[in-house]
Amino acid sequence: MRAADTSLPHESAHLHVSGQARYVDDVPEPAGTLHAGFGMSVHAHARIKTMDLSAVRAYPGVAAVLTHRDIPGANNYGGIVHDDPLLAEGLVQYHGQPVFLVLADSHHTARRAARLARMEYEVLPAILSVEVALAQQFFIAPPRTITRGDAAAVLTRAPHRITGRTRCGGQDHFYLEGQIALAQPQEDGQMQVLCSTQHPTEVQHIVAHALGRASHAVRVECRRIGGGFGGKESQPALIAAAAAVAAAHTGRAVKLRLDRDDDMRITGKRHPFLLEYDVGFDACGRILAADFMLASDCGYSADLSGPVNDRAICHVDNAYFLEHVTVRNFQCKTHTASNTAFRGFGGPQGMFIIEHAIDCIALQLGFDPLDVRRVNYYGTGAANRPRNQTHYGQTIDDNILDAITDELEASSDYRARRAALRLQNANSPIIKRGIAFTPVKFGISFNATHFNQAGALVHIYKDGSVLLNHGGTEMGQGLFTKVAQVVARELGIDIAQVRSSAADTGKVPNTSATAASSGSDLNGMAARDACRQLKARLAAHAAMLWQVAADSVTFVNGSVCAAGHTMSFAELVNQAWFARVSLSAQGFYATPKIHWDRAAFKGHPFYYFAYGVACTQVAVDTLTGETKIERADLLHDAGTSLNPAIDIGQVEGGFIQGAGWLTSEELCQDAQGRLTTHAPSTYKIPTAADIPPVFNVKLVQQRPNAEDTIYRSKAVGEPPLMLALSVYHAIRDAVASVAHYRAAPQLDAPATPEAVLNAADALRAARTNG
């Protein structure tokens, strides 16, 4: 019997490897399907003076061309603030913004025709960087200051003080399956949409608004997506709504599949942040007060930037107690694609600043950065000064940082290797090696309390097979596998008896995005609720049959037993059906204990925290700036893992994705605001050659979640990404060696070869001049 907490393969693995797993573009197209393509802005900021689409319309194979005037309902896909037009109305605010939509007999025809538009623009001044936006006070939301204690006063009297500025870059999601939707008109003005999305409910709502229809007229379905990483949380609504408007307009099925280049130009990315720190500390490196400035590049509209910035602010502490802290947050507006959710959702950027500051403290004091990190770790409950409350007021009572740090410090042999590398560097003029040990503490739950709910629908058929549906989407993270394991375990049946079905707004309504790492926490519990209802009904029936107490009935190994009686699960199900027992149940879950006052920036937003530690060694070529990860040791907390193989996959995949963010993945734009890294030829995510040749990855053992989550597991989707901060800090350590660890490298992320060489050269120049 295979069920929960075993390393079952992904429920679709056999379909993935044989090419049988269907994605939206693989579903046979309805007869007469039209293919859509966007006409896009060629300016970052401009007023559209005239738009002559006659050549587009006349192109052979074109069926129709739509502009914002053809949208029957709301021309918007902004989920929170309604400032994202589906198709531009008069004003374009980024290079690549969709302006019109071509419908043609093929994908290729639509794209070719779209290039024939004759547009006249009045070009307006464009703000293309967060620095300029900050200087001009150009924001998507008012600036905010979050404080605890009196950072300003404590800073002035701190024995040591450092200040600095750095930045971390954006990141394209580079899901392998691009954005896509297939909209099919139904009777009576209804619309069915197959969409690659992490958020079917939001797609449903935005399609309904765009069509001027009620939500019940729109059904959105998603069996699986070819990668999301946050990039399919808010962005698919644009694709789906455009396809749906076109389908309603023509009465034909419409598929909108973005070419990779268009996808990268149109859709938002991880927010780049400009960061400043002013930190006071004592002779042990303990932080006494900190003032952080977080300025994010939100792009042209709000999208999810507010929540992303909230999470960034909530994670400027990472693993460290900050008694006196001020965070000044600026959500800068730029004339670029609207930046959006990306695995970590601001958390990585928030952590980036404090890890950077701690590194600088260690260099200033000549300490091992790990010692500075440890002296600042949150406390675990010493009676009078517990040092265990976050700057937003949440008490941390599940802290395992010290224990896992001890464990990885020993297993990675961090101290001895660090000493050996320093000796080695002294005798290696060109190649320098660096090592870093960094922690992660990541808050689990959507910051906004109301999103922390989920539903599930479980049907048992007369043959004992089970069909499972829930609000979560499968994006490769193994959610469907984990929730099916929960169902199998609850009902005491083999996983092969449980089939997961596509997320479908017609089955489980009003779902939250599959995001914030919450998928298995929320949907696992909702499915368990449904199963327990079903079990109660079945147990009651068995109790009646056998004249035993219902609570004595057990469900194990495909059988139902009580007091010497036994019957197969399928047989009991069939008998229950004859007895007119309902074999379908709707489960629901709302995360307990959490609350959040956004205005005060106080509360208990996170049900619990997930922890991890990483130790990474790199080699840096100080003639060229090239880097190579030589070894990484990761120890990550998944509570009592629901599926260790899947969780290890999340840890490794997140780490490598984070390493890409911090090293090779650089987004560039030209002076006109045109993205110049809009394809894998120019935007470089890690390949198999970039992973550490020594890669020791473990889950924390024997530490169940302190909270009552599904079988005491922990969310694992986002937190491991931030373990990659150890890669960036190992590079900094290697670069610092060129100035004998006496000065902090000025190295922003991503640490491309160019950035690394510049940082090393600057240190060498300062050494020579000094």
């Binding site: 994605y23 290039r115 070869p753």
Partner: protein, 508 residues
């Protein structure tokens, strides 16, 4: 001429295609016409590998029995008519008739090597090609074989584990009697199936007003090229595919080099290595490696296995990109190109082919027939020290920010002759004449190299773009001369070696 269909063996079954625009890619054809949707589009430019399929080419080497050579290609940039006479295997073709998984597929499942699954068919096909050609691959071989496949979910470790877990292949099973399809493992049977598809006359295919010509002789090809100046010349298609998919361009006529037998051959002798314009990069590199093994690491980092299996050295040269990685190296080796126009051929030093950005010393209708590289130790090129360095944001499958090649001759401590060429530093691949002059005749010393580094600033005024800034390009170009010196000095027993490379020092 009768309209002829494109004929190939698809997943073991003979197949004919007609009425399809010659610009259409194999990927589009598989997905849209045949509804074989296992092969995915991830980027449509040959950079992600989601569309990887394996093709089989009949080897008609007179010295051995006919066999089939299997190699991975990117279906997204492979024009359908170029498959004429070949075998194509897609992910659907690996699964056994009874539905059971191929050992490569099973290894992927067992190792938890798929997450979202979208890249997975491409990985399966790259691993399948590896499995066929290298039955028990090492991890390093697996990494190299997967250089063209991007996965955003797994972090690759389980995929590499799967590559190592693939059971060793034991011989070629015979085709089952009466089988209607041929599995790729049945080499002889596959060769048998391909044999009748081989053509003896020039192949022409037309649809939607576009003609695809695949002449079989240089004379025939050259005649067409001279008569149709606006025709596209198509070799591996690794660049032309992007004209179609990204620039959305089209041609009325496409002239394919790949069926001209003389252009697919490599000849060695008379002091020259002579490589025909249609020789795939992999084969050209294999031949070059025998002469200049110092460059092997550069070829490893040149694009990806599917690109190297399709793309040609002739195409890289004719395309003449300022950032093409082959040119600096061929230039310092003193390579020549043979250009042909109609019946006339002329030979030109490769470096003289490039005049300015996208301007070449080629007349209209003149095309690159072959490239000739001096053999090592030939009269022309005694004892050379050579090196090539590639600087890019990523180790594998990236376009160089700077590519540097050096060929040095020295005796008793001083430089007799040196040639240095760079890609990425100008509008064309270009020699560093000032730096060469600074070194020539000078002692081979760090001071001498530093003088050459300073001189390099007079050779180049590089651009800033998304690959690197101008200042970095110049700085790193200078430093690469220093790297070469350190490595060269390290080769001298009296001098302590200096570890001067990260990327090439593979730790696997």
């Amino acid at each position: 001429m009768q309209p002829q269909p494109i004929r190939f063996v698809l997943n073991g079954v003979p197949h004919q295609a007609a009425g399809v625009d010659p610009h259409v890619s194999l990927l589009q054809y598989l997905r849209e016409q045949l509804h074989l949707t296992g092969t995915k589009e991830g980027c449509a430019e040959g950079d992600c590998g989601a569309c990887t399929v394996v093709i089989g080419e009949l080897q008609t080497d007179a010295r051995s029995a006919p066999g089939v050579r299997l190699k991975p290609i990117n279906a997204c940039i492979r024009a359908l008519p170029t498959l004429d006479g070949k075998a194509v295997f897609t992910v659907e073709g690996l699964t056994q008739a009874d539905g059971s998984l191929h050992p490569v597929q099973q290894a992927m499942v067992d190792c938890h090597a798929s997450q979202c699954g979208f890249c997975t068919p491409g990985f399966v096909m790259s691993l399948f090609a590896l499995h066929q050609n290298t039955p028990q691959p090492t991890r390093a071989q697996a990494i190299e074989a997967l250089a063209g496949n991007l996965c955003r979910c797994t972090g690759y470790r389980p995929i590499l584990d799967a590559a190592e877990a693939m059971p060793g292949r034991t011989g070629m099973p015979a085709a089952a009697p009466g089988a209607t399809s041929v599995t790729p493992e049945c080499g002889a049977a596959l060769a048998h199936a391909l044999t009748p598809l081989q053509r003896t006359a020039d192949f022409s295919y037309s649809a939607h007003g576009v003609t695809f010509h695949a002449p079989r002789s240089i004379a025939s090809f050259s005649r067409l090229a001279a008569a149709h100046l606006d025709a596209w010349i198509l070799a591996g298609g690794t660049d032309v595919g992007l004209w179609i998919n990204k620039a959305l361009q089209s041609a009325n006529m496409i002239l394919y080099t790949g069926a001209v037998a003389e252009l697919t051959q490599i000849a060695e002798g008379d002091g020259w290595l002579d490589i025909g314009a249609a020789v795939p990069l992999d084969d050209a590199f294999t031949a070059l490696n025998r002469q200049y093994p110092e460059y092997a690491h550069l070829w490893q980092r040149f694009a990806s296995p599917p690109i190297r299996a399709s793309g040609t050295l002739g195409g890289n040269i004719a395309n003449g990109s300022p950032i093409g990685d082959a040119m600096p190296l061929l230039i310092v080796l003193g390579a020549e190109v043979v250009l042909r126009h109609g019946d006339a051929a002329r030979t030109l030093p490769l470096e003289d082919l490039y005049l300015d950005y996208k301007k070449q010393a080629r007349a209209p209708g003149e095309w690159v027939e072959r490239v000739r590289i001096p053999q090592r130790g030939s009269v022309r090129e005694p004892a050379l020290e050579v090196a090539a360095y590639k600087i890019a944001k990523r180790n594998e499958q990236d376009i160089s920010a700077v590519c540097c090649a050096i060929a040095l001759q020295r005796d008793s401590g001083s430089v007799q002759q040196v040639r240095i060429a760079f890609g990425g530093m100008a509008g064309i691949p270009k020699r560093a004449r000032h730096a060469e002059a600074a070194l020539t005749g000078a002692p081979w010393s760090e001071a001498g190299v530093r003088a050459a580094m300073a001189a390099l600033a007079h050779d180049f005024t590089p651009l800033s773009d998304m690959r690197a800034g101008a200042a970095y390009r110049l700085r790193v170009a200078q430093n690469l001369l220093l790297r070469f010196f350190y490595e060269s000095a390290a080769a001298t027993p009296a001098v302590a070696p200096i570890d001067a490379r990260v990327i090439e020092t593979r730790v696997y």
